[in-house]
């Protein structure tokens, strides 16, 4: 477990321990016959156990980068290696399988299933695993305990506050013990107090459970809580 | 008043949904329109060619000419009755022939009518369009245009047997302005009598009266003498009785089916309109905020659903016009013989179909429109 608390530049980190490794990433979108180069030859390594914040103005490509790391999208060129696996070469269904095993997602607008209770939402990713149903429920309850929502297990999302919903989403992100947690503006829809709670939980996950976290954020206060801050501009890391 | 353009554009934005709903309504209207066209066709087939000033005399208690039997001598009795025109009295024998239908299994009954030259004097609309009239006393027949070629050997120049070793030749094809007579085979009365040992009898006697008003006096005279057991009907009345069961049968089936179909399509329209309202909460809120009244919102959504239904209705009604080229042949229950009907597109059929479509739109759209009218202007501010 990485216990370093100071903000260290990425280049100082040990490459052997890299969980995420991107090389020469190019991402081009076509929109109305026009080609938009979002990422242009980007290299990035994220060490195991790190907690990194990606910042940058709108259109800088930070969401695109996050999508690539999370295996939601594939690069136009370049290689993405995560935990020793070249995910840029996986097809759509292999990627889905891989995400289920490897990635925990936290979204800006929580994205809980409204028809499911808190504990059922957390249980959802386990449906993709071979975990037996009795154990699924147990694990989901444990995850909810980690985020401090054991008394809200049977509530539906509409019965929860925004901060509580995001905590359920975090529980859902960690329930299958993913190697990497990606968070897209996790505090974007929250007030300061709830945002601080959420950032606290993420910090705790990183520090106590050793989870590797990549977070895209606009909020300098949120970025401050990460171990590493990376700034992206015009498709390049600064 | 919110302009219609707004509704029409809203419909075109949701192309797939609009099309699915419109197509559903089109199918319903097609079925309705086709059955109305058939009912109109049945009515036309029987009603055209029936006259107020022609009486049909049969044996009392008979359902139809086929089951009636009168002495040939009665013909002169009828022509002597008050109100009867002496030179236009036609004693006829009606039979059914079991014939093989082209392209169908088993046998079907076709009506055969033995006539004298008086038959055509009563029915001036009967015209030979191909070939010629059968000659009296010869084994010749003419066939109605609607059954021409629909049965084995019912074809100009071919012949079939009325009884063993007594073939008759088809020498003519006739029309009668679309009436049920066009589904009959006509031959000389004496030829028919000879073939079926019906010498000295007729099924019915048709007589032209001095006027339509003369019927009551004629009827009283004919039915007054109980010993003969006559029954006199106006031709129009008789024909109506002949078509009643078949028309009612098609009418009941058509109505029943249309009602069920309409419920289904109305539900479809309702679902579509509810979704339209749900998706446009913000738009409706904005319209309300701009100052449009609840009434004009209600009206606007009713207009939208009615437009949608009319679009479907037009599609269905237009498609049903193609049924004009289809001939619908079925047994007429009263005579147990085959009659060929056409689908008649009348203005009232089209009007009824479109009204029906509009009604589906109105009823299907009413509750969703009510919901739209209840949207608060505050919705404009929400996401």
């Amino acid at each position: 477990m990485d216990t370093a608390t100071e903000k260290a530049p990425a280049s100082h980190r040990d490459k052997a321990e890299a969980l995420v490794s991107l090389r020469g990433i190019v991402k081009i979108y076509e929109r109305g016959g026009e080609q938009l180069k979002i990422l242009d030859g980007l290299d990035l390594e994220i060490a195991k156990g790190s907690y990194e914040a990606l910042m940058g103005p709108s259109g800088s490509g930070k969401s695109t980068l996050l999508n690539l790391i999370a295996g939601l999208d594939r690069p136009t060129a370049g290689s993405i290696d995560i935990g020793g696996k070249r995910i840029d070469q996986l097809n759509e269904s292999q990627l889905a399988r891989w995400r289920a095993d490897t990635i925990g997602f936290i979204f800006q607008s929580y994205n809980l299933m409204p028809v499911l209770t808190a504990v059922e939402n957390v249980e959802l990713p386990l449906l993709l695993t071979k975990v037996p149903s009795s154990e699924r429920r147990q694990r989901a309850q444990t995850a909810l305990r980690v985020v401090g929502l054991e008394d809200r297990m049977d509530h539906f999302p509409r019965q929860l506050s925004g901060g509580q919903e995001q905590r359920v989403a975090i529980a859902r992100a960690i329930v299958n013990d993913p190697a990497l947690i990606v968070a897209d503006e996790p505090t974007g829809d929250l007030d300061r107090k709830s945002a601080d709670d959420i950032l606290g939980i993420l910090e705790q996950l990183n520090r106590e459970l050793g989870k590797t976290i990549v977070m895209v954020t606009h909020d300098p206060a949120a970025a401050e809580r990460a171990k590493v801050i990376r700034r992206l501009d015009k498709g390049q890391l600064k | 008043m919110i302009p219609l353009k707004y509704n029409v554009r809203s419909l075109t934005v949701r192309k797939a949904t609009t099309f699915a709903t419109g197509f559903g309504i089109a199918l319903v209207v097609f079925v309705l329109s086709a059955s109305l066209m058939l009912a109109a066709g049945i009515k036309k087939t029987f009603a055209s060619g029936a006259r107020e000033d022609v009486a049909v005399v049969m044996r009392k208690g008979s359902d139809n000419e086929m089951s009636s039997s009168l002495e040939n001598a009665n013909v002169s009795l009828v022509s002597a009755a008050p109100g009867a025109k002496k030179d236009t009295v036609s004693g006829e024998i009606v039979m059914v022939l079991a014939m093989e239908k082209v392209g169908a299994p088993g046998v079907t009954n076709v009506q055969l009518r033995g006539v004298t030259d008086a038959a055509q004097r009563i029915r001036p609309e009967v015209k030979v369009v191909e070939g010629r009239l059968p000659q009296p006393g010869r084994d010749e027949v003419m066939v109605g245009q609607r059954i021409h070629r629909r049965f084995a050997n019912v074809e100009l120049g071919k012949s079939f047997e009325l009884r063993k070793n007594r073939p008759v030749t088809v020498v003519g094809v006739f029309t009668s302005e679309g009436s049920s007579t066009e589904s009959e085979i006509w031959c000389d009365l004496d030829v028919l009598r000879g073939s079926f040992a019906r010498e000295g009898s007729v099924s019915s006697i048709r007589v032209k009266l001095d006027s339509a008003a003369a019927f009551d006096g004629f009827k009283a005279a004919m039915e007054g003498d109980k010993q003969y057991g006559f029954m006199a009907l106006r031709e129009t009345e008789y024909v109506k009785k002949q078509s009643e069961d078949t028309a009612a049968f098609i009418g009941i089936i058509g109505t029943l089916i249309s009602v069920f179909f309409a419920i289904g399509a109305m539900i479809g329209a309702m679902i579509t309109m509810y979704a339209a309202v749900a998706n446009r909460q913000r738009e409706i809120g904005t319209l309300r905020a701009l100052g449009f009244s609840r009434r004009s919102i209600l009206l606007s959504f009713l207009v939208e659903s009615t437009t949608l239904a009319l679009f479907g209705g037009l599609l269905g009604a237009a498609a049903s016009m193609a049924m004009k080229f289809v001939r619908f042949s079925m047994m007429n229950f009263a005579s147990w013989s085959e009659v060929v009907f056409s689908f008649e597109p009348t203005p009232s059929v089209i009007l009824t179909s479109l009204t029906f479509a509009a009604a589906m739109g109105l009823f299907g759209g009413f509750f969703p429109a009510l919901r739209a009218a209840r949207v608060s202007p505050i919705q404009a501010m929400r996401g």
């Binding site: 999508n67 939601l72 999208d73 759509e92 889905a96 399988r97 995400r99 289920a100 990635i103 997602f105 979204f107 994205n111 299933m113 409204p114 028809v115 059922e120 959802l124 990713p125 449906l127 | 949904t17 699915a20 709903t21 197509f23 199918l27 097609f30 044996r59 009392k60 208690g61 359902d63 089951s67 009636s68 039979m95 079991a98 299994p105 088993g106 079907t108 009954n109 055969l112 047997e161 009325l162 009884r163 063993k164 079926f196 089936i253 089916i257 069920f260 179909f261 289904g264 399509a265 539900i267 479809g268 309702m270 679902i271 979704a275 998706n279 619908f328 042949s329 079925m330 047994m331 147990w336």
Partner: protein, 390 residues
């Protein structure tokens, strides 16, 4: 919680829309069952027709009669086990001249032996045989006309003129043993008819019905019978009862075809309504499918979610349709038709196979209708789906 359970729960997302759609499916299923039952009621009469009975009638036209001697000739054929003959009487009750029912004059000794699917208790039969003016009537018509055993009944007919009225006495009621039997027929002694006809019309019979030893040879027996009369003055046409009924069906085949087509059209409408509902739900929830895909659910899962949702609606609609359809079709409409149009619909019940088919179609069409929205949802890129907020 299971994947299927989650999919099923989505149905209740928009309860009102789901209820409307279920109602729509139910209406379609009821209509389908009704139309199919109409078809079945007709074809069943042909299917249930006795296979071992052959009907012989005038070759050219059924309204012409055969000489009585023909009945004896048929009876003497070795292939024929028993045979009877009847005349169509065309009788009507003058007091209820709108009521239609079949009236037959049948040979006293052999009538109910050959028509053994009309069941008459032996003592009643015996009593009837000893009453020259006796009549046996079907239970449905007896109830409708309020005829009791012992009642005097007068019928009118245009076919057989008689000095004075045709008078009968109700001897008893027959029960139908087969689904093809009209329960509204009036049967009396052929001898009573014949004795009251003028000399030139005596000893004529409408048709001969024969029972054959070997039902599989019925068609062949028909040919053999016709051969007997081939050189006679009047030729005959013999068909087994099933073929006889089938030719009746052929005469209204246009109606059958139309009903057949329409029963399919209602299913198309159902599929449109269903598909539309599913497509709307999918459109509104695109974002959720994006989330599921981000969590690692594959395209197959997404398709499965949507199809299962549709199937749940199909099952619910199908069950509701059957639940309403059975009492409506068999209880209400069926009873009415059996009592009032018994000659067309002697037996108006839902074919159990058809309700299974209706249920299957509700489910299959629901699944089929959801395929297009399901595939379009699955095809959507995860990143784009996530951006969609309904």
């Amino acid at each position: 919680m299971t994947l299927v359970g989650l999919a099923a729960r989505n149905v209740l997302r928009n309860k009102f829309r789901a209820a409307l759609t279920v109602a729509g499916v139910a209406v379609a299923i009821i209509t389908f069952l009704l139309l199919r039952t109409v078809l079945w009621a007709w074809t069943a009469a042909a299917d249930y027709a006795a296979k071992d009975r052959v009907v012989t009638r005038h070759k050219v036209t059924f309204i012409m009669t055969l000489p009585l001697s023909y009945a004896q000739s048929v009876r003497s054929l070795p292939q024929v086990k028993a045979s009877t003959f009847c005349n169509w009487f065309g009788g009507k009750d003058p007091k209820h001249d709108k009521e239609f029912f079949g009236s037959l004059a049948c040979d006293t000794e052999t009538g109910f032996t050959v028509y053994d699917d009309m069941v008459v208790p032996p003592d009643v039969l015996d009593q009837w045989k000893h009453d020259a003016q006796g009549a046996i009537v079907g239970d449905v018509i007896a109830k409708k006309m309020n005829w009791k055993v012992g009642d005097r009944v007068t019928l009118q007919t245009g076919i057989y003129p008689k000095e004075g009225d045709w008078e009968f006495r109700i001897s008893g009621i027959y029960q139908a043993k087969s689904k093809a039997v009209d329960r509204s027929t009036f049967i009396f002694h052929w001898k009573y008819l014949n004795d009251n006809l003028p000399a030139n019309r005596k000893d004529q019979i409408g048709w001969i019905v024969s029972r054959v030893h070997d039902p599989s040879q019925a068609a062949g027996v028909g040919v053999a019978i016709d051969k007997v009369f081939d050189e006679k003055e009047i030729q005959t046409l013999s068909q087994d009862e099933r073929a006889f009924n089938a030719s009746f069906l052929a005469s209204i085949s246009a109606v059958l075809t139309a009903i057949n087509i329409i029963s399919v059209v209602i299913l198309v409408i159902m599929a449109l309504v269903l598909g539309n509902t599913i497509a709307m739900g999918v459109r509104e929830r695109t974002n959720e499918y994006g989330v599921l895909k981000a969590l690692g659910f594959s395209n197959k899962h997404v398709v499965m979610f949507i199809v299962v949702e549709a199937i749940v609606i199909g099952v619910a609609g199908g069950l509701l349709g059957l639940a309403i359809g059975y009492p409506f079709i068999e209880g209400g409409l069926g009873r009415f038709l059996e009592e009032n149009m018994g000659s067309f619909f002697p037996y108006f019940k839902i074919d159990p196979r058809m309700s299974v088919l209706a249920m299957f179609l509700a489910v299959a069409l629901a699944a089929a209708a959801s395929v297009i929205p399901a595939i379009s949802a699955a095809r959507l890129k995860t990143v784009d789906a996530l951006k969609r907020i309904a």
